[in-house]
Amino acid sequence: MKAYSVLVGLVTAILTVALIGAAGDQPLTAVYWIPGIDATFGLQLTGIGMFVAAVAGCIGFLAVVYSLKYMEDLEREYTPTRYYFLTILFIGSMIALALADNFLVLYVFWELIGFCSFALIAYEYKRAKARQAGSKAFIVTRFGDIGLLVGIVVLWSAMRNLGADQPFSISGTISAALSGQIPLHLLTIAGAGFMAGAIGKSAQFPLHVWLPDAMEAPTTISALIHAATLVNAGIYLCARTLPMFAVLPWWLPMLAWVGAISATLTAVLALVEKDLKRVLAFSTISQLGYMMAAVGAASVFASQFHLLNHAIFKALLFLCAGSVIHATHTRNMYEMGGLKRFMPITHVTFLIGTMALAGIPLFNGFWSKDAVFEALLGAGQTGPLVLLIITAVLTAIYSWRMYWLTFQAESRTEAHPHESPWQMTLPLSLLGLGTLISWLYVGDYTSKLGNQLPYHEVDLLEVGELWHHTFGSPLIIIGILAVAIFVILGVVWSKRGAPVPAGPQMWADLVTDTKGFFDWFWGFWVVLMRAVASVLSLFQTGDLNYNSLWLAIGFIAVLLMFLGWG
C-alpha cells in the first residue's frame, strides 16, 4: 500500500511537471457531466493552474516519501491506509481544482479539499484537540464558502440568462464580465462572495483562526496544507478571476488591505509564539497575505511566483520541523536548542528555509517578495505597501528567532536527538536545493504563466532582468534590512544566549492561543448561536397543550401575513 502510494505520488509529480511542458495546447478534456444543467467536467491547462498543480504534485510526492518514516510511530495506533488514502485524495483534488475549467467542478473539488483537510487534521482522532481542530478547519473554511457558493450560483444564473452554452465556464464568464454583459450588481455580489471564499480557504484576516489550530495534524499534513494544497486554493481563485473582478473599483484595494492586515497581524503573533509549528503556521498566513496583496495589486506574476517559492521553502521548513519534532518529541522551542550538532542536514536545510522566509537576498523568497513590493508600488497601493514593509522586518526577526531557539545556543532538550533517516532527509535536501535555485527559473516561468489566460497581464521577465530590476530598485533596502537584522540579532544572541524567557509567558500565550483574540470574537458568535438555540428549545416543551397552541399561532400568523400583503 505504501509502495503504491509512493508510485502514485511519483507518477502524479511527473505528469504535473510534464503538463508544464505541454503548455500552449487547447483545453485538455471536457466530458459531459451533468447534461441537465449543461455542466461539463472540463480540465483546462491555464498558466496559473498548471503551476499550482505542479506544486501540489511535486511537493505532495515529497511529503508522501517523507511520511514513510515519519508516520511509522503513529501506525501502531492508526491505520496507515486511511492516511495514504486521504493524502492522495487531497493532492488529487487540489490538482483537479487548479485545472478545472468551470466553476462547478472547481466548487466540488474546493469542498473536497476542505473535507480532506478536516479528516487529515483530525487524523489522530483519539486526541480531542485534533478532532476539534479538524472540525474547526472545516467549519471556518465553509463559512467562507458561503460566499463562494453564492457567487457561483449568481454567475451561473447571469450566464444562463445570457444564453451561454457553458454557463459555468470560467473563461466564458470572465469574457462576459469584461464585455459588460453581466450586470454590475451581480458582479459585485460574486466578487464579495469569491473574496470571502478565498479569505476562508487561505486563512486570511479575519478567518485566519483555523490555521494555527490545524497544527494538530501530523507534520507532513501541515506541510501539504501549507505548501502544496489547501491554502493555495484561495490565492489561486483570486488570481484566476482577477480580470473579472478588477472591473469593480473596490475589489483590488480591498484584497490588498486584507492581505496586508493578515500579514502584519500574524507576523506580530509569530514573534512571541513558542510552538515551532505554530510559528510556521503564523508565517504561512503572513506569506499568504503577501500573495493576496499582490493579487490586490493586479500582479498575477508576483502573487503566483511567491506562491511557488513559498510552497518550496514552507514545505522545507515544515518537513524540517517534523524532523526536529521527531528527534526531540516536543514542539515547544524553549525546550529545544543546540540541535545543529545533532542534526546537521536538518540544520542546514532549515537555515536555508529560514533565510528564504526572511527574504535574505538570493534566496527564492527574496525575489518574489520584492516582486510583491514592486507590484504594490506600481499599483500605488501605499497603505498596504507600508504595512508589508513593516511585516518584512518582523518576518526577519521572528524567523531568525525561530531558527536560533531551535538550532543555536545550548541544548535545553532532555531527549537524545539524532539525525533523521534518509527517507526524511532526502526530501529536505531536494527542497533545500529548490529554495536556493527556484528563482533562476523565472524566465521560463513568466513565459508560461500567461498561457491560456487571455485576460491576464503577464510580462515576460528573464533572470537577468529580474536581477537588474530588483537590485536597481530602491526597495532593495528591505533585503539589506533583513540581512542587517540577522547580523545584529545574531551577534546579540550569541553573546547573551538564545532569547528564552525566564518566567511563564502568560500574555504572550494568551494572545497567540487566541490568534490575536479573534478566537474570542468568533467564539462570541458561536456562544450567541448556542444561546439562541437554548432559548428556542425552551419553546419546544413536548407538552401537547403548548404544541396545539403553536399550531393556532401558526394559523394566525399565516392569516396575518396574508392580510399584511393584502
Binding site: 441537465g36 401537547l544 399550531l551
Partner: protein
Amino acid sequence: MEVLLAIAILSGAALLAYVVGRLSRSRMLTGFIAFVAIAGSGYMVYQIWNVLQDGMPLGWPSAWAQTRLQSYLVANYLGIFLAGTALLLAALVAVYSMRYMHRRDIGKFYALLLLMTSGIVGVGFAGDLFTLYVLFEAMSIASFVLVAFEREEWEPIEAGVKYLVISTVGSLLALLGISIVFSWTGTLDLAALPSLLEAQVGSAQLMAVVALIIVGFGVKAAIVPMHTWLPDAHSAAPSGISAMLSGIVIEAGLITMLRALIALGTVNYGLLLVWLALVTMFVGNLIALRQSDLKRMFAYSSVAQMGYIIMGVGLALGYPTLAGFSGMRGALYHILNHAVMKGGAFLCAGAFLWILGTRDIRKLSGIGRKFPLMGICFLIFVLALAGAPPFNGWFSKVLIAKAGADVGGWGIFMVVMLVLNSVISLFYYLDALNTVVFGPIPEDRPRTLKPLPFLVVLPIVALAALSLLLGVLPDAGLVLVDPAAEYVASLIGGGVDVLVAAGVH
C-alpha cells in the same frame, strides 16, 4: 388502470401481509411479501412512465366515470417522482425491518408500512381534492399507528398521541378549506379548479382557504411552528419507520399541499412560503444543536431540511416565470436526496440502537469505529446532509440556491441564509460524527457486541452507495426530477416554452 394498480397492489398486499404475518409469524416471509408488493408497484409506476413518455394520457377510472364520480386518479410526472422515491425507500426499509423488528405482531407492521406507502404513492396521482385528502389520510393514519408501534413503552405512545392530535387538527383545517372550495365551485377536480376560482382571485375568502391549506397540510410537512409533533414522533418510532417518516412522509405532506395550492390559483403565497421556510430552517438547525439524542437530532435536522425544500417550492410559486422550473427542480431533487441521506441516517442510527440499546450520542461514542462499515456509512450520510461534495446533498442545495439567484434581489439574500444554515448544521453534524465514529470507546462497554445482521447492513450500504452515486453523477437523479419539475412549472404558469424563451431551462 396502471395507476390504480400501483396503489392497489400495495393496499392488497397489506391485507395479505397481515394474514400471513398472523398465521406464520415469520418476519422473513412477511417482509418478503411486502418487498415483492413494493417491487410490483414499482413496475406499475415504470409502466405509467412508459405511457407518459409516449405522450398518452392515463388515468382511472374512464372519462365517463370521472364526470359522475368526481373522484379519479391521473398519471403525472410529479406522481411518478414521488412514487419512485417512496418505493425505493420503502423497499429498503422492508428489507431492513425483516431482522430489525423483533416483535411477534410483524404482520401488522408490514401491513401498516404497505398502507402508508400506498397512501404516499396515491397523493401524487390523485386527480381531485377528495381523492387527495383520502389518500393523504390513509398515509397519516397508518403512520400514527406505526409511531406508537412499540406500545409496551411509554415514549412511543406519548409521541403517537401527540402526533395524532396535532395531525388531526391539521387535517381538519385542510378539510375545512377543501369544503369551502367545494361550496363555491361544486367540483374538486384539480385540473378544473384554477379557472373556476379565477373569479375569487384576491378575495379574502380565497386567502383564508389558502391559509387553511398551508397550515393544515403544513402540519405534516413540518413547517415551523406546526412542526411540534415531529421530534417526538420521529425519534420514538421504530428506526425503519423513522426513515420513512423523515425520508418521504413529510415530503409527501408537502407535495399534497403543493398540489392543492396549485389548484387554488394565483394568490401570491410563494413569498409566504419562503419566509416560513426561512424560519423553519433556522429553528430546525438551531434546536438540533441542543440535542443529545441521535434520532432527535436527525429529526430536527429534518425540520431544517424541509426548510430548504420549502424555500425551493416557495421561490418557484412566488416567481413562476423566473424560478418556476429551477425552484421546483431544486426542491424535488432535495426530496430525493433527503430520502436517501436521511433515510440512511435513521437506518444507521437504528443499527447503533440495535447494538447498544441507546440513542444517546455520548453513550454511542466510538461505535462507528467498532463497526467500521457502519462508521463509513454514517460519515457519508452526515456529510451528505451537511451538503459536502462528493455526497449527494450538495447538488440539490446548489439547485435551490440557483433558484434564489434566478429571482435576484432578496432571493439572493435567501440564498445566503440557506447556505449559512448549512454551515450552522455542520456544527452538530460534525459533533455527532466526532463522537459516534471518532469518539473514545467507553470503559464499561462490553468487549464483544452482537454482530449486525446482514439484512440490516445491506439497506444502509445501498443507501450510502446511492448517496455517493447521486453526488458524483447528479444527472442520474435529474432523469426522475426534471419531468416532474417541468410538469409543476407548466401548471404554475412558468410553462416550459416560457422558460426556454427566458433561457432559464
